[in-house]
Amino acid sequence: MHIVEILTWGSQKQNKEKNNLKHKREKWTTGEESIEGRTTRQTRIKDSGCGRSSGRESAKPRRRKSQKKGRVGSFLHKTSDRQHRERRVFVAAAAMDSEDYMYDSDAEETTYDDDDLYYYSDKEEENIAVGDDDDESRRNKKAKQSYIVLKESDIQQRQENDITEVSNVLSISKAAATVLLLNYNWRACDVQDEWFADEERIRKKVGLFEKPVFLLPNKLGKVELTCSICYENVRVSMMGWVSCGHPFCRECWEKYVSVAIEDGVGCLTLRCPEHRCNAVVDRDSIDLFAKKEDKERYLQYLIRSYIESNKRYKWCPGADCEYTVEFCEGGDDECYDVCCHCNNGFCWNCMDDAHRPVDCETVAKWQLKNSSEAENTAWLLVNTKPCPKCGKAIEKNQGCMHMTCRKPCGHEFCWMCLGTWKEHGERTGGFYACNTFQKNEAEGKYNEDEDIRKRAEKHLEKYTHYYERWAGNESSRKQAVKDLKQMQNDYMVRLSDLRGATDAELKFITDAWLQIIECRRVLKWTYAYGYYLPEDGDKKEKSKKGFFEYLQGEAESNLERLHHCIEKDIHNYLNKERPEEEFKNFRAKLSSLTTVTGNYFENLVKALENGLEDTSSQEACSSQEASSKIKSRTSKKGRKDYG
């Protein structure tokens, strides 16, 4: 525990600015009453006259409040004597300079108004909590959340609200409002601004005609017209048209719409089948013409477009997971880890598996490295190029160098140099052996891959070492997820029957498994981190590496103990009747192993997130002292606890 405290102290000054921000957020929370986060959001959105974005921005701090409120209250009450005592001990041990010391001792007597102080206390509470109070630590984890997991119906509701708002403000149909929003990336404000600036132009651009350009004969009903898709003569009453008035028979409409929906998300901006007619096929028309299953797919695309064009939403990348995650910027500093309701943890930033404490860049490098030989990637690298705008891999299978990305991106670029096509007119000199490409080659930009390969060979042995451990922990984690499922479906029931224990009483087992899964994940990523840690640097770098390996080793050995305990020992209690006392001991042992392991990993994570700073020679010494203290303390504790 001491190690962490020292690190916290050391990074305190650097974090001052962040802390101020943090404090401001907290201030929001103290004065107000608790309202359910989501309802607040929605009423807010309705209230704000113009603009979803502004409405939501203002809703943000409020929402945080509902999560953080408990924390503030509990903190003020729970700053027990013990914490004061601990802090004093720590201040003395760390031998800080007198100014800081004064600052701190002042703080203990006064209230918790001061920015820095608040932060300090806040942080300390976390550390203390990590100590032994499990509940407290869980609350802290919850408070860290800067995201919400949303069901599809929630998203639908929000989308519907946006559409209704635009439809009301502009006095147009909901379907027309949807078309406009689709064209402006679902930004209601933009739609309104543009619309009121030049309605006619916008109508033309998005394809919402005010008057039909094709006038149908006056006597409808029995009049027959030729459908220019199937060339059949059809009664006008059996035909359909969008705002332009070009009539086609219902049957052809259904097929036309169906093919477009089959083709992908581009169906959201489908145009009238008439040649060069710009009239859009809106939602109402789709409702009228499409088959039931096509309508459902259309609605899916509509939601997809809503989520994908809004930077605050992302799909959970988990297999078959239908949840969406909303992330609020300005949450806990640089913590992008998100845990979906489907139990899939992922990183908001890079969409890879959750990888705290390792940063996204390292993960990307590591993943690329791992897959560099995979056939898939090799094929993608050889045969595709990413669209320079949206990044989707594009395979060129025919045609000229003038590439047009799939809708809705639609970016036009040159296959050779990936530059935008606009620059390929007369300005590049007009010759198709694209000169940018040759320039790059001449400058040797393409030799990078070669270098990487050489380095990889050189470090192959080192890499194998880290990779095996990384992969080992990953498979271990996957196994643990399976084991947890089996535990919940089978063992827990048996245990509960055998022991007459309630679910709550057996919760410690689930907790232990969850801890193992989380730790395996962290441990896995620390191996990627370790791989990229500079090897032959100066003294400081070396001590960093040493410190890292020490922390990692400690964490790992504890995790192994915990994993072994739950995997093997549990079987003793599944079949045979064992005395109640023994089971109690088992529970105590497992719970405390869970907590202790959790602490070790928390320390590891924090140290890595601080970039292993604060390991200058002096502090390294003290941390070693501190850690040896921990060691002796935990082992004592261990003996006591595990009986």
Binding site: E251, V259, H275, Q398, G399, C400, H402, F431, Y432
Partner: protein
């Protein structure tokens, strides 16, 4: 009957009825397969293709007319938007600007228009495109004329 077959049949009838309507285009359906068509088009006048007769091959997809037919030149042609080796055509209406209201006949007309007005900015035949883009109209025309003579005109004697 399959919708695409019905529509193609209608087009077939139309072609039979108005055989002489457009003297520049002779559209014919494959004897055994209504999804395969060929067309003979005359090179437009006042272009290097004048006097040539070019053969096109149509492969019509099942989803026609909701999806465009695949068209390529069977006759060799020197044109910026036609692949010199495969005869593939780079034309917007055959890709993303397709509308089901188009017919095979109107596609032929569009291709004739493309022959008269090449678009050197998205070339499939780079040599041809570069000649035009560098302003060497004469060079382009003589190349195109030569290939028209070599490939698209009936051999004398």
């Amino acid at each position: 009957m399959q919708a695409s077959r019905a529509r193609l049949f209608k087009e077939y009838k139309e072609v039979q009825r108005e055989k002489t309507a457009d003297p520049d285009i002779q559209l014919a359906c494959d004897d055994s397969n209504i999804f395969k068509w060929t067309a003979l088009i005359k090179g437009p006048s006042e272009t290097p293709y004048e006097g040539g007769v070019f053969q096109l091959a149509f492969a019509v997809p099942e989803q026609y007319p909701l999806q465009p037919p695949q068209v390529r030149f069977l006759t060799k042609i020197f044109h910026p938007n036609v692949h010199f080796k495969t005869g593939e055509i780079c034309l917007d209406i055959l890709k993303n600007a397709w509308s089901p209201a188009w017919t095979l006949q109107s596609v032929c007309r569009a291709i004739i228009a493309l022959m008269a007005h090449p678009e050197p900015d998205s070339p499939l035949n780079c040599d041809s495109g570069n000649l035009l883009r560098s302003g060497d109209i004469r060079g382009f025309q003589s190349m195109a004329k030569m290939y028209t003579r070599l490939a698209a005109m009936p051999k004398k004697g």
